[in-house]
């Protein structure tokens, strides 16, 4: 049996986290659990982005004493994009948490079913 490629393992993990996050957002009624769902989606996407940049047998794109002409590197652009994605994920989490605190102060609950103003 041949071993699974690294990028496949990473992508399955990443997509699994994304699915877990979406299910938390769709199924749970508690805003804090939905925020955790968004956070899981962010982490999953960062893992997928890095996995997509993997090149067979590649190492981190940092040159050092062991680097020779034959050294294969993984894609550095994906690593740079993952940094961006993590920062944006942090921003989303911070803002949604702030809104959760504000809604809790207004209504005394975190259950989304209690917030009916926009439906009436």
């Amino acid at each position: 049996m041949t071993a699974l490629p690294v990028s496949t393992v990473l992508m399955v993990t990443g997509f699994g986290l994304v699915l877990l996050g979406y299910s938390a957002i769709l199924i749970h009624r508690n805003i804090l659990k939905m925020v955790i769902g968004f956070s899981l989606v962010d982490s999953g996407i960062a893992i997928i982005v890095v996995a997509l940049g993997y090149v067979q047998g590649g190492t981190a794109p940092i040159l050092d004493a062991d680097t020779t002409a034959a050294t294969v590197f993984v894609d550095p652009i994906n690593a740079a994009l993952a940094v961006t994605a993590i920062v944006i994920g942090f921003a989303v989490t911070a803002i949604t948490l702030a809104y959760a605190i504000r809604l809790y102060r207004l209504h005394g609950t975190l259950n989304v079913d209690a917030f009916t103003e926009s439906r009436e």
Binding site: T8, F15, V18, G53, V55, I62, L63, A91, R102
Partner: protein, 234 residues
């Protein structure tokens, strides 16, 4: 309740559809054996042009540093918007959560004397060696902000001076843009780090203005994250 059942059924359907699409994506992915032209170009040019062995830092702080500037702008907007969002309200339904006990506990209190200097040194190392090895301004700034959060937990009563942090953050932001303008005037374009001598590949003082930009970015990120954390402390 039927509404809830319908909701759960539709959610399960949507998730199953997503799972199917994702499995097709994973199944269709083939690991490449060589880099694309752009990535190969970055890996070739970063050590040659910039004297930066860490190609990711070369991309973040030179080739795509305008992106990085946009990212710190996003962080700044978050820090700024949390102020009005978390302001005390006139007639809240839920009473404010009671303040935690003033005493953080023996283990955390003793631990923060031993760990805070280490966290600070590690953060500074990650920021300053970002051009040579894994690291950079964002990562190191986040580590230092972790230390500041630890300080907030260990000393519950302590106040963090949000104004001072905001002033530091704005000042560093102005310097960041100033470095960018220097690049525009003395080198190839906005935020081009090559207006300072490139130095020798792998030396601490090398890579033109990249260590400087990394330092500014680290201070800015640490200050911004600390403001965000302090806002949540209420």
């Amino acid at each position: 309740m039927t509404g809830r059942t319908v909701h759960l059924g539709l959610s399960a359907l949507a998730l199953a559809g997503l799972a199917f699409a994702f499995s097709r994506l994973v199944g269709a992915h083939v690991e490449p054996t060589a880099l694309g032209q752009l990535a190969a170009g970055y890996i070739r040019l970063s050590p040659e042009e910039l004297s930066v062995p860490n190609v990711v830092t070369g991309i973040l702080l030179a080739y795509r540093s305008f992106d990085t500037l946009g990212e710190v702008a996003v962080l700044y907007m978050v820090a700024a918007s949390l102020g009005p969002l978390l302001q005390p309200m006139d007639n809240p339904v839920a009473s404010e959560t009671p303040r935690l006990s003033e005493n953080a506990g023996e283990i955390i209190h003793s631990g923060h004397f031993a760990l805070l200097p280490l966290i600070g040194v590690f953060g500074a190392y990650v920021i300053l060696f970002g051009h040579l090895s894994a690291g950079g301004g964002f990562q190191g700034g986040a580590i230092i902000a972790t230390g500041i959060e630890f300080y907030m937990i260990a000393r519950v009563a302590s106040a963090i001076n949000v104004k001072a942090f905001s002033a530091l953050e704005s000042g560093v932001g102005v310097l960041f843009v100033a470095v960018g303008v220097f690049g525009l005037v003395f080198a190839g374009g906005f935020l081009d780090p090559r207006f300072l001598p490139a130095g020798e590949l792998g030396h601490f003082v090398s890579g033109g203005a990249i260590p400087l930009v990394s330092l500014l970015l680290g201070i800015k990120v640490a200050a911004e994250l600390s403001v965000v954390l302090e806002r949540f402390r209420g």
